[in-house]
Symmetry: C2
Subunit: 456 residues, 2 copies
């Protein structure tokens, strides 16, 4: 889900130096394997052929050996077991991955077919949510929307229901959710991790819309729904969102007003990490936001409108981010009063400009700042670790994600007296000796006693 | 971490019919690839040889094609990109996996070398924890050990710092933590997910000991530390542990007193899911439990003692479960008064006997029972999804874990009006139409309003 956001994202960043490099590297690297065959020296070719032919002969001999029944190599047993494991795993993988299910009657009601003449809706119109929610809260005092004076926040993230095309992707999804579990435990935030497609029409980066609506309606006690892409990590474990600052607003999103209104740039805002207040206004915004999303002709056509109206947007199907920007531009008077475009800290931080500066940050600053000195969130736009085709070299993405995770994890491990050996190392080392008076460390290092809020 | 527990576990279950089948299947399956060659019909063989030879010829032709430079297939470009991605990924994987770091001075202080003459300790002796903790709680009223009348519980789980040997393993680690996130959100339990080796000496299934101790000392506000293996899933999302029942106890673990004291069986208790009260008694138990754990000669020697004294235990290095059983048997008077051996519900439930009965349970019973009618926890003992060698066929393990996850997920999705198409399907379908009055569903289906506790 988060990953799907990338394709859109990266194209945008094509303008930035870092990503241009990244992209060109990507192409170059991608090109190499293929370019080798036509060009390259003839001798090389001949050699390869000989090699292959010999290999073939060898294989045949091996098989014959088996038939004639010459004694087996000691290793062949283990090899066979291994082989067998691999085959079984692949079989399961295929089974779990296989998506289309033509005989399934639900395929249709889940709406893979859609009628372009009917405007798509997220569900029956809900008109009186604020009053209904207020009444519910009054009659359910055991589920208050304020906990110890703080509005209740639900962090929502998710990833595709099936294993990643690129297996290492699942490992980084695991690290990314571990990172979110840590931040949310430290700051009293609940988590919903979605692994399902609630709505087949709004697949990919649009899937967050029906999900957010569903969660608002199913968790009336929650004041703010905070969407975060699966490829975004908390890199400042101390920083806290200054919610009081947004008392008069219903949508908080990272971006730049000048890029939005002066340049109409399609990267003026980023939908990788944003907060929605649980209220009628948000439901209304989702209702007008969603109709560009249904996959197929509608999303294709909408894409053309967005590309025609947003600066720097390449031609491709409508994405949720462009659609929101277009909506806020075209219906500015109706919505902007309640939208807070935040850039005083990194509610979303573009990774390419940050991951190489962690050492510098550690040297000069400290957690709790949340801005370019110590980014609150590092978002791996364009990396697609779970998909097969990102916009940056896989190598750069993976090592950068590893660095971001360990940079954040060091802040968590400090309470326990450990840190990673290096920002690229999964291994940890002690930074304090065990003591007989552990509570001193708790009073000193427990992040929960020293939360730092952004300037209100 | 959780996975490492398996090898020990499964051997035990060798006696149970299910696992015997499982194991024999495993062997059979493993054998097949290798056994096929010598036996099998000769014609079959000849056919294979011909096939292989043809294949070889084909490959050679393909390569020649490339050399002669006949136009490239359209796919070759994508293939090259794919190839390149795979290579880069593997390089990173190797980098991240590479463990030994001889030049690292920390290698030593982290204690990979150990002195068998010095008894291993988890850290400086802590003698007065109960009083210190009480004092801390009094001076930190903002971190109460009771929240809304319930003792504060911290669920602890974890997995190895590095990607799984078997890539699909990471996907199931992700599903297993999503499952725990759901249960813990519904029942107000905090989660710590450990991805680090705190102590190189206590690697593998022993790693939970230093981790639990560290967490007790770093989270004085937590009353119960609940360890759960990464391969255990909540399959009853409604059931709640009857903590009041354990007011007089400090360790709650699933098991059978007769197996423990009459038979001295090494599977009398299961350390895949148990609760420790945060108190001096627990620290003391950890101190006497740990010395059998240091890897190398100590663990090897201890293993012999355990095998000699515990019924059914095969000969292998000391594991944490056998060590605990041995300890409670040999020092019964000192410890058992505070140990609650629970089997009125499945604090740990052995998967092989449960996963095939889910349909029957759905038909006859309902969540909230927690026992054989609707198991609270389903634990995939012996599956080792993250390692390469489990004790059951990978296929059986993966599909069983998929079934357990979806069985549990259906209970979570009910609030949102969905369920999985089948217990093996990651895809979901609606079970209710969207309504304009969503709060009715909340009042009806929110698990938090209807928690069911085990009989106190």
């Amino acid at each position: 889900m988060g990953q799907d956001n990338f394709t859109a994202q990266k194209r945008s960043s094509g303008g930035l130096p870092t990503s241009t490099t990244g992209t060109s590297n990507g192409r170059a690297a991608a090109g190499r394997g293929y370019a080798a065959l036509p060009r390259g020296r003839q001798i090389q070719k001949t050699f390869n052929n000989i090699k292959i032919t010999i290999l073939c002969g060898f294989v045949t001999i091996l098989v014959l050996r088996g038939t004639i029944g010459v004694g087996n190599l000691g290793s062949s047993d283990a090899d066979a077991v291994n082989q067998n494991l691999i085959e079984e795993t692949n079989r399961i993988l295929a089974e779990i991955r296989s998506d289309s299910d033509p005989n399934d009657p639900d395929e249709f009601i889940n709406g893979t077919q859609i009628n372009p003449n009917v405007t798509y809706t997220l569900g029956p119109k809900i008109a009186n949510w604020d009053a209904e929610r207020r009444a519910w809260l009054q009659s359910n005092p055991e589920f208050p929307s304020l906990v110890r004076g703080k509005p209740r926040v639900l962090l929502v993230t998710g990833s595709p229901p099936k294993p990643c095309d690129n297996p290492i992707g699942d490992h980084y999804l695991l690290k990314a959710i571990k990172n979110k579990i840590d931040y949310c435990r430290l700051h009293g935030i609940e988590i919903v991790y979605n692994l399902a497609h609630l709505d087949m029409e709004l697949a990919g980066y649009w899937a967050k819309l029906p999900l957010i609506r569903k969660l608002m309606l199913s968790h009336p006690e929650v004041e703010w729904i905070w969407w975060m892409d699966s490829d975004a990590m908390f890199t400042d474990m101390v920083f806290e969102i200054p919610l009081a600052k947004y008392d008069k607003h219903n949508l908080v999103i990272h971006g730049y007003p000048d890029l939005l209104f002066d340049q109409k740039s399609w990267i003026a805002l980023n939908t990788g990490s944003f907060l929605f207040r649980n209220c009628q206004w948000s439901l209304d915004l989702l209702d007008v936001w969603a109709p560009m999303g249904p996959k197929g002709p509608i999303r294709e056509e909408a894409g053309k409108i967005l590309t025609a109206n947003l600066k720097g947007r390449p031609a491709f199907e409508a994405d949720d981010q462009s659609a929101l920007i277009y909506l806020l531009l075209s219906q500015k008077d109706q919505w902007m009063e309640k939208v807070f475009v935040e850039n005083s800290y990194y509610l979303h931080g573009y990774w390419a400009g940050l991951v190489d500066r962690y050492e510098e940050m550690i040297e000069k600053y400290h957690p709790g700042l949340g801005d370019e000195r110590w980014p609150f969130v590092t978002h791996f736009v364009g990396c697609k670790p779970c998909g097969s085709y990102g916009d940056y070299p896989v190598e750069r993405c993976l090592s950068s994600m590893e660095r971001a995770f360990n940079f954040a994890d060091n802040q968590v491990l400090k309470l326990y007296g450990f840190r990673h050996r290096g920002l690229l190392s999964p291994k940890i080392k002690r930074i304090r000796n065990e003591t007989a008076t552990p509570l001193e460390s708790v009073d000193q290092f427990d992040i929960r006693r020293h939360p730092m809020q952004g300037s209100s």
